[in-house]
Symmetry: C2
Subunit: 362 residues, 2 copies
Amino acid sequence: MLSERKQKVLEAVVREYISTAEPVGSRTLFRRHNLGVSSATIRNEMADLEEMGYLEQPHTSAGRIPSDLGYRFYVDNLMQANPLPEGEQELLRQVPASGITETDILLSQVSRLLSQVSNYISLVLGPRTDRGVLRTLKLVPLEEHVAMAVLFTDQRKVESRVLVLPPQVEPEDLEGLSRYFTRRLAGRPLEEITGELLTTLYLELLEDYCAKRDRLAELGQALVNWLAGGGRRVKVYTGGTQNILRQPEFQDLEKVRRLLALLEEEELLHKLLEREPGVTVTIGQENELPAVRECTVVTSTYSVDGEPVGVLAILGPTRMDYAHVISLLEYMAGCLSEAFANISVRRTVAMPKQKTAAKEPV
Amino acid sequence: MLSERKQKVLEAVVREYISTAEPVGSRTLFRRHNLGVSSATIRNEMADLEEMGYLEQPHTSAGRIPSDLGYRFYVDNLMQANPLPEGEQELLRQVPASGITETDILLSQVSRLLSQVSNYISLVLGPRTDRGVLRTLKLVPLEEHVAMAVLFTDQRKVESRVLVLPPQVEPEDLEGLSRYFTRRLAGRPLEEITGELLTTLYLELLEDYCAKRDRLAELGQALVNWLAGGGRRVKVYTGGTQNILRQPEFQDLEKVRRLLALLEEEELLHKLLEREPGVTVTIGQENELPAVRECTVVTSTYSVDGEPVGVLAILGPTRMDYAHVISLLEYMAGCLSEAFANISVRRTVAMPKQKTAAKEPV
DNA sequence: GTTAGCACTCTCGCACCGAGAGTGCTAAGA
DNA sequence: TCTTAGCACTCTCGGTGCGAGAGTGCTAAC
């Protein structure tokens, strides 16, 4: 374990480097942080910290900068969380206050706010769609030969798609199909609804429908493809990419290029944002993706109806204002969860009696 | 007008500069393009061209580079269109061949292909939604207290939104509302469907429905907000942002930053992509947006059912491979239009007889 | 009108140098 | 034994100077 003085020195180095982006020397530290000892002592401590792997020296006669390990120790042991500044809180309160009900617009705004406040790159992973429980699957005739398939889950999630109908499929057929699928699938978690299951169900159904078999087959296949297919991909919202260019560690164009390329690869971003609930911090080499080996990714999950369903993240240099970013993400996750709660359908659906009862006398 | 020889020299300068990115001198031109005259003559012509505004000199003893005017002349008079290379054509044919029916996925792929083939930034403006003609407006009960509103137009465009129902609204009410709105609005272009019109209709309707008036009012208002509101915004897809960093003219980080910032401003991009049908080329200072004053934007519209509804664009330095980019965009627009035609609902809807008739005997 | 020749200009890369910052080591002091 | 002052040493960084190279503009000859 590190002696208390070493911890103090390490903390001072990290703080100083985060705010100046310059390698910090013992003299600077001596002048600006009063550590109670001379620069020579600090120098010795810094030499020790370097040997232990917490600091690095860009070149012999430069100051030192924290290593990934140094940041890690700082985040785990030294950093103190401070609440988000009033002004920023106010800015973020827009999200639940705005009354926006479109998930898409809501998340774009969240992403924009995150990058604006943090001055780093923001990433927002949309609510996962493989969790919810199916409630209704409906085929709605729109007009002759056109119908819409609607998938409705308990997590205020609706998906729909237009289907072109084979000739001579009747509205009753659609109703029958809707009822059948809903009856057999309602209550099942979406992740269970695989291609095989659907196909099985579907074949079963066709037995009863021999007369129209051929016509329905085509339609059913389209439906199966949709439900089982990748249609349910989760979107990633990015924002503030230009912020990265303000960071002195990203003056190297090749580095920036790699990062920009990453931001266009949705699958990689998904991988990057697969995180457990709560706040996580991944520093430099701790990251699996090579493109972010010199970056830190801080994430926080947000919830809908108490269940973590999506991820907010900040991507920046390892020299990041950790305390600020963490409280920012926590606060924003709260706001977003709140915004979702405001417009939650589930609540309304799950407890209609209560709500009706409460509202009626007014 | 320019003498033929001047045109030849200008063309040679543009071609040379496009491929090397270095200011071109009279000697280089003499060596690589055989213009039939000596370097001294070329030198004189170049001096003239500079005086006329077609060329510029970065500094006294450097070669020359084309000015915006020079590029303009090149594009309008000198450049010869050549067909897209086989390999690239093949790549782009994926789009109509893939069978993808989700507009969103289709356009992401188009954007990706465009940037990949061009090595510049690609922009894709989704199909405009204010054009189509409303066919059906439907309120579909999903379960108790939850319904979905569906807007269906002739341009294979469907929008939908979940509505939480006020207590004690009956499914019949929904059907009534659907029928009423559809009857009154069907056949109208979406752009005519404004808040005022809807409100008028809606008030009219309430007359007939006095009994449930209060309950329906809330629902109707939500509907009006949706239809009249900005819900129908058109998405912009971007791709290949990292390509810009490969261009020697974008080594200046501040320039890159401004461009990246622009790419996150949807409204500005909309403005940038508001173009007339066909191919347009906007060079450097011809652009209104300051952030792209050193760039060229080439656009091409694509069509659904013969009507131009969206825009493909390439954004790159003014030193751009114009001929290639133009044929790329034209070809891609064709592919995309084709892809839309494949999945067009309108065709099926508009001419069901024909299609049915043609299909039935098979 | 075209071309060869030539003097002139400007950039770019390279080496050099001195200032400044920071280190490591040593020796003296507590 | 730990701390500190002092000092020599190292390394970067910005500025300067210089020569090579590329290109021009001008002049005079064809």
